[in-house]
Symmetry: C2
Subunit: 343 residues, 2 copies
DNA sequence: TTGTACGCGTTATCAA
DNA sequence: TTGATAACGCGTACAA
C-alpha cells in the first residue's frame, strides 16, 4: 500500500517538489497562492511527510530530548510538564524518551541525537557512571537533572541541576534528632547503589554522628531489589520486616515519600500509630505526602525551579554562553503530622 | 563534525558497505571472521547507524507503538510495564509515545506509522471521537485500551479492551445504597465529557434510580477544569466546595482513586472523619487506595489482564486472525475501610 | 561469500 | 518565484 509522497503531490499540483517542500516548511520564497493551492491538495489527499526522510536530510532541527529513567516516578511528572512548557516557549520541539532500567541512557542518547538531529539533551533520573570516552560521543549539550553522579567526575565535563541530597537528608535526620529521637531507622537504596540513595544515606549517618548517636546497622534497611524501587509496596514490605525484627526504634526516615506511605501502612497494620508510636519522614515533597493521613513530614524539592533551571542551563550551553554549570537548589523541610517529639 | 557512516567503516575494513550492513544486521551470508573484524572496527570507532536512514529504507519493521494520553496517570504505569513485556516476548520492539492533552492522537499515530514503519498501535487513555475518514488513514492494526468511545461508532471499525465503566460504577453506587446511604455525592468529569467520566456518571444515576433515590444535582460535582484532571488536588478542591455548600450527604463517590484521596483530605481538614462522618469510595484500584489511611473502597480494574488482552488482540489483528474484537473485563469491588453502613 | 549501484522521501543548492 | 538535481545514510537486488 504505497504511501503518497511529496512527488505525488508535486505532480498533482503541476509544480516541482521543491515548491511543495517550501509550502510545507513555510519557506519565504513562495507565492501565497501556490502555497495555498498546494496545502489544499495536501489536505485533500491526506499527505503526511515522512519524518525519517526529513530527519535524514535535515542538517539540524530545533528539538530537545528529555531522557527519563523510571518514567513511573511521580516525582518526574511535574518536571516533565515544566520542561515541555519551557521548551515550547523557546520554539523548540520536545521529545520525551523513556529509558529502560537496564538500558544505557548514553547509548540511547547517541542514537537519538543522530536520528533526530537533536540540539540538546536532558537526562532525568537514574545515576551516572559512564566513562568520559562515552560521554564524549555526545556532541550536543546536555544537562543532568536530579541525578546522582559518581563523585570522581570532573565537574568541567558536564552540567547538572539538583538539590544537595546529602545536605537535605542531613537536615531531616537532624530535625528528627532534635525532636529527641535517638533510635532512627532508615529505608534507603541498596548498599551498592551510587546514586541519590547513597547520598541520602550518608547524610543520615553524618547527622547521627553529629548528635553523638552511633550507627545501629540493625536499623538500616535497603529496598527490596525484586520490588519496584522507591515504591509504596517496597516501603511496606521493608517496614514490616523492620517491625518484625523487634529492634527498637522511635522514628523512621524513608528516602522517598512513596516509601514513607508504605511504611505508614505497615505500621498501622501492626496496630501501631503514626506519629504516636513511630514518627515517619519522607523525602521529595510529592503531593501524596501532603494528602496522606497523617500528612507526612518531608523534604520538598523545588521541582519547578529545578526544571526551569535545567532548561535555562541547557539553552545557555546551546547558545555557547557557558561551557558547563552546576546548580544546587535548597530544599525545604516540610514539618507535618507524621513526626512528633519523643519523650 | 561529520558523523561517521557505514561507508567509512567499509573503507576502514577494506570491505563493501553490504558486508558491513550484513554484520550489523546479523545476516547469514557473512563469514564469522569478517563479521567479527567489522564489529571490532565499529566498536573502536563508536559507529552508530542512523535510525532515520534505516527507517527510510526499511519497508517494514517489527515495532509496536503505544500512544498514551495523560502519561502522568499512575493507572497506566502497570499497563505500560505489561505492554513492554508482552511486546518483547513477541520479539517486537516497543515505542512509548506521549500524546499531549490537546494533541490529536490519530495525527500523531499516522506520522509515527510512516516514520517508524509500525506494525501496530495501542491507544491508551483519552477518549475517541474521530471521523471514520481519519481512522481510515491508519493502515496498520490498532487497539483502544481503556478508552471511552462515543457510542455512535461502528464496532466493526475498531477493536477495544476495557472494563464496563457504566456497569462497574453502578456496582459501586449500588453497594453504597445497600449500605443504607441515600445522599450520595459524586465527583465526576465535566458534563460535556464524553469519555469514561460520563459512563461512570451514568452508572451512578441508574443505581440511584433503581434504589428509588432521586438525583440531587446539588450533590453532583465536576472536576475543576483548571486543575489537572483526576488528580488529588482536584478531589480536594471540589470536596472542600461540597462541604462548604452545606448540602447534606453521607457518602461520596469519586470516579478515581486520586480524587478520593483528595476528598478524604478535605474531609479531615473540616474536622470530620472517614468513614465515621462520610463514606468515601474511589475507582481504578490504584496502589494508593490500598495504602491510604483509611484504605479506600474502590473498583479494581484488572490492569494486567487488560494489558495482556490488548496485546493479544493486536497481534491477532496483525496476523489477520481477526478483523476486530471487543473485550470487556469484569472489575472487582474492593470493600475497604473508607466505607461503612449508614444508620 | 562479497561488492556495486540504486532507491527510500526529503531538503538544500544552484541555476533559470 | 520556481524547478531540476544532488545529497542525506542505509539496505538490498544483482552481479561477480
Amino acid at each position: 500500500m504505497a504511501s503518497i509522497t511529496i512527488i505525488d503531490i508535486a505532480r498533482m499540483c503541476g509544480v516541482g517538489v521543491t515548491t511543495v517542500s517550501r509550502a510545507i516548511n513555510n519557506h519565504p520564497d513562495i507565492s501565497e497562492e501556490t502555497k495555498a493551492m498546494i496545502m489544499q491538495v495536501i489536505k485533500e489527499n491526506h499527505y503526511v511527510p515522512n519524518n525519517s526522510a526529513r530527519n535524514l536530510k535535515r542538517s539540524a532541527s530545533k528539538t530537545i530530548a528529555v531522557l527519563i529513567k523510571g518514567i513511573t516516578n511521580p516525582f518526574f511528572n511535574r518536571m516533565i510538564q515544566v520542561f515541555e512548557k519551557e521548551i515550547q516557549r523557546k520554539k523548540y520541539s520536545f521529545i520525551l524518551q523513556r529509558v529502560d532500567e537496564n538500558q544505557d541512557e548514553i547509548e540511547v542518547a547517541i542514537e537519538l541525537e543522530k536520528e533526530k538531529r537533536l540540539k540538546g539533551i536532558v537526562f532525568l533520573g537514574g545515576y551516572f557512571s559512564h566513562s568520559k570516552e562515552k560521554l564524549d560521543q555526545l556532541t550536543v549539550p546536555f544537562v543532568l537533572s536530579t541525578i546522582g553522579m559518581t563523585p570522581d567526575y570532573d565537574p568541567q565535563e558536564y552540567s547538572s541541576v539538583s538539590v544537595d541530597d546529602y545536605k537535605e537528608s542531613y537536615k531531616m535526620v537532624d530535625y528528627l534528632c532534635n525532636l529527641g529521637h535517638r533510635k532512627i531507622a532508615i529505608i534507603t537504596a541498596s548498599m551498592d547503589d551510587v546514586s541519590i540513595g547513597k547520598l541520602r544515606y550518608e547524610g543520615y549517618k553524618q547527622a547521627l554522628a553529629d548528635h553523638g548517636i552511633g550507627l545501629n546497622e540493625k536499623l538500616v534497611y535497603s529496598m527490596k531489589e525484586n520490588i519496584e524501587s522507591y515504591s509504596m509496596e517496597n516501603g511496606y514490605v521493608v517496614t514490616k520486616e523492620l517491625l518484625e525484627s523487634g529492634e527498637e526504634f522511635s522514628a523512621l526516615f524513608a528516602v522517598s515519600d512513596s516509601l514513607a506511605v508504605g511504611a505508614c501502612k505497615a505500621i498501622f497494620e501492626s496496630g501501631k500509630s503514626v506519629p504516636g508510636d513511630y514518627s515517619v519522614a519522607g523525602f521529595d515533597g510529592l503531593d501524596i505526602a501532603y494528602y496522606y493521613n497523617p500528612s507526612i513530614t518531608t523534604i520538598r524539592q523545588p521541582v519547578e525551579e529545578i526544571a526551569e533551571e535545567t532548561i535555562k542551563i541547557l539553552f545557555d550551553l546551546i547558545n555557547k554562553k557557558i561551557t558547563h554549570a552546576h546548580k544546587t537548589f535548597p530544599a525545604e523541610l516540610m514539618i507535618r503530622e507524621s513526626t512528633t517529639g519523643k519523650q
